[in-house]
């Protein structure tokens, strides 16, 4: 904070300098900066415009929206949100999404921290083979498997079923998360585990009581990145769910669009509601998300 203040003070002391004596290079530098910020500003506007337009459109009446007269709502129609919430049954979809995402993240954290710990710390036969399988599995793309996963879940009687969906979500998150957790554990000091082992604690006990509480930064990175992925998952939700009462929000949104043919401003309001949780989450957990994406990609 303080460094930012001094920067600003520096900038202010420079700017009001006598314009006539501004030297060539300095002016070039300043023009450069203006151009740079101009470019960034345009990019930011392009990134934000669709979302701002959605917000504005979700508060307009249909006639106002279709006439495209103004970019801002003349008379905000807050009722659109109520209509969207009720007509679109968004409460049901959001509850399902929270449930599926939460269970998937907990499952992924448990399974991948166990596996990651074993790869990082324990010594046993077949470790290399398992690592190889994980890397190979990561390469298999979803389009190659979703059909057969659907067929498998039919034979297990797990289609149109939250358990089947969450198991698929967990499985698809394991490989990357395991590698992230492994490299996290590798970077941790061994001292505490060794002390606990000397006290006679078994490996599972050490893992649960000593390792896991210390692994919070690694777990957080995995949780945010997998949480975002699970929340936004669409393909399997599309394939697996038939009952609207079981659908997560992404699938529910498309069900709402196609079945009810709601008016555009209502759909914009529904879409806005659907992204509120994820945008708030992003703004709050941004640091973790950035770190998680980096960790996930480099593994």
């Amino acid at each position: 904070m303080s460094s930012r203040m001094t920067e600003r003070a520096d900038a202010m002391s420079v700017t009001p300098g006598p314009a006539g004596t501004a030297e060539g290079p300095r002016r070039a530098v300043r023009l450069d900066k203006v151009g740079l910020y101009g470019l960034l500003g345009v990019a930011a506007l392009i990134a934000l415009f669709p979302l701002l337009w959605m917000l504005s459109g979700s508060l307009q009446s249909l006639t106002e929206l279709l006439s495209n007269k103004s970019l801002l709502p003349a008379d905000p129609q807050w009722g659109n949100y109520v209509t969207a919430w009720v007509q679109g049954e968004l409460g049901v979809y959001l509850r399902n999404s929270v449930l599926y995402t939460g269970s998937a993240v907990i499952g992924i954290l448990l399974v991948s921290s166990l596996a990651g710990y074993a790869l990082a710390r324990l010594d046993f036969a077949g470790k290399g083979a398992f690592t190889f399988v994980i890397l190979a599995v990561m390469i298999i793309p979803a389009p190659a498997m979703f059909l057969a996963q659907y067929k498998l879940l039919i034979s297990l009687n797990l289609t149109n079923n939250p358990v089947g969906y969450v198991l698929i979500l967990i499985t698809s998150g394991i490989p990357m998360s395991t590698l992230i957790m492994r490299s996290f554990f590798v970077s941790q000091p061994r001292a505490l585990e060794e002390a606990a082992a000397l006290d006679g604690a078994g490996p599972l006990r050490i893992f649960w009581n000593v390792i896991l509480p210390l692994a919070r930064p690694g777990l957080a990175a995995v949780a945010v990145i997998q949480g975002l992925g699970a929340w936004n998952e669409y393909l399997m939700a599309l394939v697996l769910f038939e009952d609207n009462s079981l659908m997560p929000i992404q699938r529910g949104l498309t069900a709402f669009t196609s079945a009810e043919t709601p008016q555009q401003q209502i759909l914009l309001a529904a879409t806005t509601i659907s992204i509120v949780p994820v945008v708030i989450f992003y703004l709050m957990a941004q640091r973790h998300i950035v770190k998680g994406i980096g960790a996930g990609a480099i593994k």
Partner: protein, 311 residues
């Protein structure tokens, strides 16, 4: 470093441990791996094998009978114009995502890295589209790009560029590039984040040394930034390419592959073949062909990366 060297001779005997202790050690190791092994075995490896088997069978999605049909599915897919159109289209998405997406991502990362104020703001804004779902992106742009009431055409009219107004998603000539542009809008923030992190990891001393040698901005980029970023560039390239090639939800919501098949992509073609046409066998054949191509691509890319990092 040193601890590892010291540990090596001590570890060697434990490599092939014998007797009860070794058994116990192996058991504990696999106990930790058991949940991961079970889930990956059941929900990834089994379906992977099943997909290959299914591509030689005929299945309508309902009946318990799945008779073997040899190479019939592959014959059918080989002469299916929709599938091959989807492969061509997705290649276009891949190239655009790769060149334009990564170009924008790298350019913006360089720009953000060189400013002092507003870094966090721009980083936040640039990745914001990346946290949206494919459904949200598809819905939003289907409204924005609508021919009559869409805000894009309206804006073009307002600024006097009315001649540029288009039926963005309905005109076969422009639909494909437009969907590709939507993909880039949605996805470039990912590469941007990784490039930015990579730039921040470049040691400052390198630039300081180059400045002492009188290097200008271009040669600093050419001889320091670019080589230092190489590992990030190769991973971003692969991941962007794979994401572009697997594009599905955005296209389904935005155009559903239309007009005609001008924006059809393989994953959507596979989905339609199975869940719309009820021909799961040929859909499986498509997924084997397409999935195989993706796997091949990843393996080649990883091999190149590994060789480069070894050299």
């Amino acid at each position: 470093m040193t601890t590892q060297h010291l540990a090596l001779p001590a570890r060697r005997p434990s490599r092939a441990p014998r007797g009860k202790r070794a058994l116990r050690r192996n058991l504990i190791g696999w106990l930790f791996l058991a949940p991961a092994v079970a889930l990956i075995g059941i929900f990834t490896i089994t379906p992977f094998v099943q997909a290959i088997l299914l591509s030689f069978q005929s299945w309508d999605g309902v009946s318990p009978d799945t008779p073997w049909v040899g190479l019939d599915n592959y014959d059918f897919v080989a002469s299916d114009p929709v599938f091959w159109a989807s492969m061509r289209n997705v290649l276009f998405f891949g190239v655009v995502g790769f060149v334009v997406g990564n170009g924008v991502a790298l350019g913006m990362a360089l720009a953000v890295n060189s400013i002092t104020r507003g870094k966090t703001f721009f980083r936040t804004v640039f990745y914001l589209p990346g946290v949206l779902s494919v459904v949200v992106v598809g819905l939003l742009f289907s409204f924005i790009l609508a021919p009559g009431s869409g805000v894009l055409n309206r804006l073009l009219g307002l600024v006097g560029l009315g001649t540029l107004q288009q039926n963005w998603l309905g005109d076969p000539a422009v639909a494909l590039p437009v969907v590709a542009a939507v993909f880039v809008w949605f996805h470039w923030g990912f590469g941007f984040l990784l490039f930015l992190a990579g730039l921040q990891d470049v040691p400052k001393e390198l630039y300081e040394a180059a400045e002492l040698d009188g290097a200008n901005r271009r040669s600093k980029f050419r001889y320091i930034t670019w080589p230092q970023l190489a590992p990030v560039t190769s991973i971003v390239s692969l991941l962007t390419l794979l994401a572009a090639l697997q594009i599905f939800g955005t296209v389904q919501v935005l155009t559903n592959g239309g007009p005609g098949h001008h924006t059809m992509v393989p994953t959507l073609a596979i989905y339609n073949e199975a869940f719309v046409n009820w021909r799961y066998g040929s859909a499986a054949a498509m997924s084997v062909i397409f999935g195989g191509a993706l796997v091949l691509l990843s393996v080649i890319q990883l091999a190149i990366t590994r060789r480069r990092s070894r050299a």
